[in-house]
């Protein structure tokens, strides 16, 4: 056991010293927004000199993907060393030296499902920040019913011919390559005709179009594929077995959304409502809003306790699967409720959407954007379906 008084584990000590000496001060603390991260890729520029220094130092150390094998550009750290490094980075509040979908999502899937040649090629490019990846799952007609996707990849002997389109591709316009789900068989069960494919976005026949949301600008794009030729070796895993990879990857997506969600400044609902409404004798000056706010604050506190409990159950070796199934649903419903309370309390002040107007302008956008929370990553209704079927065992009609 490590003894914090008698001296640290040598790896921890060494890591701590190295991080303290090498992590630039501006690379520590809260991530301001997505522009405060280095994403890599062909068009990827460093947001600042410190970002460049930080990336290069960590890269030289092998700590871009610390736990990946060295032959894939990783640091070859053991699980224990990796955990220590993460703890020490958290201790100094170090920003990630490279933030990318390749690192967080595609990488883990390739490690598990790709051929040796694919691993060596693609994983090294991810670690070296040469390629920026985006994800192509949803389609205009395949949202909640993801397995109903129609983008087709036909076997033309020496290549696949891809036709169709993807939607809700985050940063599709900035990415170099896309990993997608394509239909390679239209017969039988729809899940059994899906394959996992890697496509160069510079291929002839590809195009992207930004999506403007009700809240204004967004990182989402639509991506179009018109007779795009894709080499046969870009198929990952077995033909028609892509659904398994997709499901595996979705768990990493949820983890990443959890992480990046933190970049949005947390709003203090109580403070905002109090400032807007004012109080008399210590009581919020609107009894109806006060009741709604109390109910919200109670549920938020209990939800936080439930997250604590899930962690404790896992630590105690109890199955906490049933618990984690409710987090997406309840967390997003609470967020939407918080924005409704803020809008209600702020009145016409929160309706101004001119960014230069005043301090309230961002509220309108945050409110409008929050409506997507209960849709993206599986709608609230889909989450309730999952609970009814998988947890409660209610019959399918």
């Amino acid at each position: 056991m490590e003894n914090e008084i008698g001296g640290l584990n040598p790896f921890r000590k060494e890591t701590r010293t190295w991080l303290e000496e090498n992590c630039p001060l501006t690379m520590r603390g809260q991530i301001k927004d997505v522009n405060d991260l280095y994403w890599g890729g062909r068009q990827g520029a460093f947001p600042s000199d410190d970002h460049k220094v930080w990336f290069e130092r960590m890269h030289a150390k092998g700590w871009i993907a610390p736990h990946w094998d060295k032959k894939y550009g990783g640091g070859g750290l053991s699980d224990r060393e990796h955990k220590i490094l993460m703890e020490e980075m958290a201790r100094l509040r170090c920003k990630p030296p490279l933030f990318s979908f390749g690192l967080a999502m595609l990488g883990p899937a390739l490690l598990k499902f790709a051929s040796e040649t694919q691993k060596e090629h693609y994983l090294n490019d991810i670690v070296n920040a040469k390629i920026r990846w985006c994800q192509g799952y949803s389609e205009p007609n395949a949202g909640s019913d993801l397995a109903g996707l129609q983008m087709k990849a036909e076997d033309k002997g020496d290549h696949y011919l891809v036709n169709g389109s993807k939607i809700w591709t985050s940063f599709g316009d900035l990415a170099d390559w896309i990993f997608c789900l394509v239909r390679t068989n239209s017969e039988g069960k729809k899940q059994d005709g899906i394959s996992f494919m890697l496509i160069d976005m510079q291929s002839e026949g590809t195009a992207t179009r930004p999506i403007r949301l009700i809240s204004g600008k967004s990182p989402f794009t639509e991506t179009f594929f018109n007779d795009v030729k894709v080499p046969k070796e870009n198929l990952v895993g077995e033909l028609n077995k892509g659904w398994t990879i997709a499901k595996y990857l979705l768990t990493h997506e949820r983890q990443m959304i959890g992480g990046i969600g933190e970049t949005d400044e947390k709003l203090n609902v109580l403070e905002i409502v109090n400032d807007a409404i004012g109080s008399v004798n210590g009581k919020l000056n609107d009894t109806i809003l006060r009741t709604a706010l109390a109910r919200h604050e109670m549920n938020r506190e209990i939800f936080a306790l439930t997250i604590d409990r899930a962690i404790d159950e896992a630590k105690a070796g109890n199955d906490s699967g049933a618990l984690s199934s409710l987090f997406k649903y309840y967390g997003t419903e609470l967020n939407v409720e918080a924005m409704e309370l803020i809008m209600s309390a702020s009145g016409s002040d929160a309706l101004m959407m001119d960014d230069s107007a005043d301090k309230h302008a961002f509220l309108a956008r945050r409110f409008l954007r929050s409506k997507g929370n209960t849709i993206e990553g599986g709608t609230s209704e889909v989450q309730l379906n999952i609970i009814s079927k998988n947890i409660l065992g209610l019959p399918i009609k």
Binding site: S279, G282, R290, A294, I302, L305, S388, K389, L392, L394
Partner: protein
């Protein structure tokens, strides 16, 4: 850690096994239908005492098990599942707590060993109107040469009709609603001038209306630390215990409803295959999971002596009150016509739920209190 340890798991399991045999829901129906004069099964209560349930929160020095409130909460959760009618709430959760917190050394020495052995049924007499209100005390205690003289009346005194002894909240000074001047007294059920009227409630349990007409209480029966703040703490602990009981009731009620959704067929399919019912069931599942977290946290807060006990108590009581209401209402609706019949057991959960959520403050009361404690 918001999980229970092995010892606590064993306690919970043994209580569950005991109640499954000794006190299934049918036992409550029997008590009701036989118009049992006690409203409780004394033999069952004897068994619960033998298991040591009366001594869970009493220290070993006084013959208890010193198991803590988390332990008592787990027991209450199980009696919530079977809707067992017993003096567990009046005597163990409320009165024993009051003596632990407010009793003098002599009072503890006299009463705690008896309570631990289960030889004493006690009731806390506080409420004077239809809504819980800790400061609302009109009952007067006037100091005379030979003791205190009590005058006034109480209502909703849980198990008041079978109590051997009462803890009475009365006022030695100040006006109604003043926090100052509140005191707690130990009063024998046989005291002259004390009248007890049994009130049978919706949940087939019993409370009492009590009146005091010049009841003389010896000076040494004034509870040493029985002031307003202590009273609030007794209620906070009571709220958390009731929340634990409601958690058991909500789970059992939900599980029974879920089973019915799978078994009841209409239009040629199980009604549980309809999405209109599935989503409502999923939402109840979520609420119950949230309830488990707040109940265990609040029970631990009692044992750990955390300073924000009042906020935790209101949080737990409000959430559980809201949830038992939702779950028992939905249970009746989802059972359909059969749920309205007295033959079905599901209605008992609605009835107990309503009484439990009203006891020591309903949902609006604790919502308001939570807001006040959070500073809005």
């Amino acid at each position: 850690m918001l999980v229970i340890n092995e010892e606590q798991k064993m306690l919970k399991a043994s209580v569950r096994d005991f109640l499954a045999i000794q006190s299934p829901l049918a036992a409550l129906r029997k008590l009701r239908d036989e118009k049992n004069s006690d409203g409780i099964d004394r033999q069952l209560w004897g068994g619960m005492c033998e298991m040591g349930l009366t001594g869970l929160t009493i220290s070993e020095a006084f013959g208890g098990l010193d198991f803590g409130y988390l332990g008592l909460g787990l027991v209450l959760e199980e009696t919530g599942r079977t809707l067992t009618a017993s003096p567990l709430i009046s005597t163990v959760l409320l009165s024993t707590t009051a003596i632990n917190l407010a009793g003098s050394a002599a009072q503890k020495k006299a009463l705690l060993p008896e309570l631990a052995r289960g030889q004493l049924i006690m009731a806390l007499a506080h409420e004077e109107k239809a809504h819980h209100d800790p400061g609302h005390v009109a009952t007067k205690a006037e100091l005379r040469r030979d003791g205190y003289v009590l005058n006034g009346h109480k209502t909703f005194v849980l198990d008041g009709h079978i109590a051997d002894k009462f803890i009475v909240v009365a006022r030695t000074a100040g006006k109604v609603d003043d926090a100052k001047g509140i005191a707690l007294f130990l009063v024998d059920a046989t005291a002259k001038g004390l009248k007890v009227e049994r009130t049978q409630m919706m949940d087939s349990r019993n409370a009492a209306k009590i009146s005091f007409e010049n009841v003389l209480v010896p000076k040494d029966q004034l509870m040493e630390a029985g002031d307003y703040d202590t009273l609030v703490k007794i209620f906070d602990i009571g709220c958390i215990g009731l929340a634990a009981e409601m958690l058991g009731s909500a789970q059992e009620c939900f599980e029974r409803t879920l089973a019915y959704l799978k078994e009841r067929r209409q239009f040629g399919v199980p009604i549980g295959s309809f999405q209109a019912l599935q989503h409502r069931a999923a939402k109840m599942f979520i609420d119950i999971e949230l309830c488990k977290s707040v109940v265990i946290k609040a029970l631990k807060a009692i044992d750990d002596g955390t300073p924000d006990l009042s906020r935790m108590a209101s949080l737990a009581k409000a959430k559980l009150g809201e949830t038992i209401k939702l779950v028992s209402n939905e249970a009746i609706q989802m059972h359909g016509g059969i749920g309205m019949t007295d033959d079905a057991e599901i209605g008992f959960f609605l009835k107990r739920g309503r009484v439990a959520q009203q006891t020591l403050g309903d949902y609006p009361y604790h919502l308001d209190r939570f807001a006040r404690l959070r500073g809005f």
